[in-house]
């Protein structure tokens, strides 16, 4: 008896959407085993991560708003990445674009501080998007001019961005009234620049609004506009895309620029809101987690919303688990990593079916 993979004549629509669910279930099982190995009750841990943040009255008041706070940047970055991934353009450096976007947004705020003005926040939005776009243009131009690998360049630029962040937090952007502590002024307490909750106790801030606008925009672009068609064509059949008149270089610039600008926006909304200020460890790896979100959501805008909320849940629930069960913080990162691992593994089901072969006598 043996297992065999048989290629489907058409990719299965059912499995395309069932695999993320299956991956989540497998992650829960493997995660439970992991927690058991750490000496924790697996059922209690899983419940704490996936159920209590939403429905346990003790935690829900704090946790529910946190869900949107965490999901906002993840979704915003992930929809941008998904467009590039569909075209086969791999921006792995959203984390760096996120940092530079935050720095640019913060720079505008700190420049105007403490003057009032309605135009300051919109300027910060533009600066954030611009910063992320510029940081993404580096791998884009290197790829189109010198045919470098955008995966490598964008990834390595994350570490450059981290160094710039550290230098800014202790240098140019340090709070002059901060008694020498590293970190900038508190932007969320500067009314003209703050990105505070729009509706109290919901977690809803401008970044979440921007994420939903980006989702709708991307959905229309991918499914109704010829640009989305070209993106998918370039990803699936590059030669056919050239035959259809798609200029590969233009697409690289467009996709990297779009995902970079959205990542930069996410960083800017974060620094002016939930993160409050520029600090050395301001970045929280949303840029990397968004890659998991993009794939978990099948590179589809609506799927990404669901995946972003789920991933936010693991963040919020993970924090609870850290506090309540004294779980190491790395355990929750392992948990998120497993999700991507299982997703990629079970993905094979959407293009192949498994056949059980009973070997007959020759």
């Amino acid at each position: 008896m043996m297992l065999r993979l048989e290629k489907r004549s058409q990719p299965s629509k059912l499995w395309n959407w069932a695999t993320p669910v299956l991956a989540v279930v497998l992650t829960m099982i493997a995660g439970g085993l992991l927690f058991m190995a750490l000496g924790k009750d697996p059922f209690a841990a899983i419940k704490l991560i996936f159920w209590d943040p939403l429905f346990n009255p003790r935690f829900a008041a704090y946790s529910r708003p946190q869900l949107l706070v965490k999901a906002g940047p993840l979704i915003l970055i992930a929809v941008g990445l998904a467009v590039g991934f569909r075209a086969g353009i791999w921006n792995i450096g959203a984390e760096g674009q996120y940092i530079i976007g935050a720095l640019c947004g913060a720079a505008v705020a700190l420049w105007f501080w403490p003057a009032p003005g309605w135009y300051i926040f919109p300027l910060m939005v533009l600066a954030g998007a611009f910063g992320g776009w510029v940081w993404a243009m580096i791998p884009a131009i290197l790829k189109t001019r010198f045919n470098t690998n955008e995966i490598l360049v964008s990834l390595l630029l994350v570490y450059v961005a981290e160094k710039i962040l550290a230098a800014m937090a202790v240098g140019r952007m340090r709070n002059p009234d901060g008694a020498g502590f590293p970190g900038s002024r508190n932007i969320s307490q500067y009314p003209a620049a703050a990105n505070n909750e729009l509706i109290a106790n919901t977690g809803m801030h401008w970044g979440v609004v921007a994420a939903f606008i980006a989702v709708i925009f991307t959905y229309i672009m991918l499914h109704r506009h010829v640009l989305g068609f070209h993106v998918q064509l370039a990803g699936q059949a590059p030669r056919a895309a050239r035959f259809a008149g798609v200029a590969p270089a233009r697409l690289v610039v467009l996709c990297l620029g779009f995902s970079g600008a959205l990542a930069g926006l996410a960083g800017m909304f974060e620094v002016a809101g939930p993160a409050r200020l520029i600090s050395i460890d301001f970045n929280s790896y949303y840029g990397f987690t968004a890659i998991i979100v993009a794939f978990l959501g099948r590179l589809h805008p609506v799927g990404i919303v669901l995946a972003g909320l789920l991933m936010a849940l693991t963040y919020v629930g993970g924090e609870l688990a850290q506090m309540a069960l004294r779980m190491p913080s790395a355990a929750i990162q392992v948990f998120q990593g497993m999700l991507l691992f299982f997703l990629l593994a079970v993905d094979v089901l959407s293009n192949y079916r498994i056949r059980l072969n009973v070997r007959e006598a020759m």
Partner: protein, 505 residues
Amino acid sequence: MTEPLLAIEGLTKAYPGVIANSDVTFSIGKGEVHALLGENGAGKSTLVKAIYGLIRPDSGRMLWRGQPYAPNAPTQARAAGVAMVFQHFSLFDALDVAENVALGMDNPPPIRTLAARIREVSSAYGLPLDPGRLVGDLSAGERQRVEIVRCLLQDPHLLIMDEPTSVLTPQEVEILFRTLRQLRAEGRSILYISHKLEEIRTLCENATVLRLGKVVGRCDPREKSARALAEMMVGTALHQPEREQQRPGDVLLEVKALNMPAPSAFGTSLKDVSFAVQSGEILGIGGVAGNGQDELLGALSGELRSASAAVTVKGENVGHAGPNARRAMGLLCAPEERLGHAAAPDMSLTENALLTGAWREKLVHNGFINARRTRAFAERIIKRFDVRTPGPHVVARALSGGNLQKFVIGREIMQRPEVLVVNQPTWGVDASAAAAIRQALMDLAQNGAAVVVISQDLDEILEIADTFAALNGGRLSAKRPVRGLTMEAIGLMLGGAEGENDAAA
């Protein structure tokens, strides 16, 4: 009666929605060259895959020398003595001949021993081959030799050949046939799949004809005319392409001193290519694969850019323009590679209709795709060109080669091109689909378009073209009228000798 080498009894294989083989029964004797005839989609590939262990039949049985034979994998088929040369080569350009041969063997000997064996076998069968050469530098005929030698090294009793001559020059076909006859004389059997009926008549002593998965006839092809064979295969009287003689009109496409470096390491650079095609004219461009056909198509489609004045459409320079600008001018193309170039394999036929039809069919308005119009356009192509598929929602790779080719060519013809360039329009397409495509190309010229047919099939060119030119090493010979052109003259043109004669004269 002696026991056959391979007997197939009642073999049936169904795929979702289609029965590929239904109760197929036939046998191949020792030392027999047996032809398998049928249109695309008739079930030839499925049958051959079952014999080679790539798929398992649903029912029926196979007997190998009287013993039950049910290979689970090609390794088992090879162990029994079955070898196969595929229509599309599975070779790596960047590896040399010996390395490529080793990759396809179950237990390859050390490369030095293997190289000696390759030399030995290839010269014994009249297929000279240098084991140290890079496959990327070989012609299509030489690549096929690599595949054949790889099979022969396994000392097969049955050799399956799928459309082996479609990439060969007439001279190379001669060499191949000599080899096949030698193999037969040694008592080996050959299962020969081809749609070139004349070849089957000269080579094979038995033929099994398949239609829609069923055996519809058996015959000795030497006793039948090619036309009779084709009619057995199609089931109806075959339509011969025909058209009235056309008075040539204005020059619609002109290429002047086109030079282009090879786009890839294994490509061919175009050298000083010049030709002009008039309204109503079909220009056939012959040549062996790898002599610049792909590059010429790319230079005409706009995928490869050249000097602005090197390509002109209706007198306007388009050499610098991209594919869509050229489509707007009326210059449309259909490349050779259906999957991945002319069509996106995992996209639906509707999306593939959009791929080239966006501009001329007005399927896109302000950048937004008109889904209804696009679907209607795909449906029109399917209807007019008799593409056999459940509907336009089906992905391109689910179609058989012939059906997808009808769709791809149809997509361009439906857009009413003024200049149409096609590369290998009937490669791997069955007789009736090929006839339909050729007729459509001739109708197009009849209505005043200029048509360029790049093809390695000389019979095709002689059948439909008005003028002929040969590509050799990226150079194009001067074009000559097809009428009165002898096979010898064509051979000289293909060999590149014709240009020298002109210079001397």
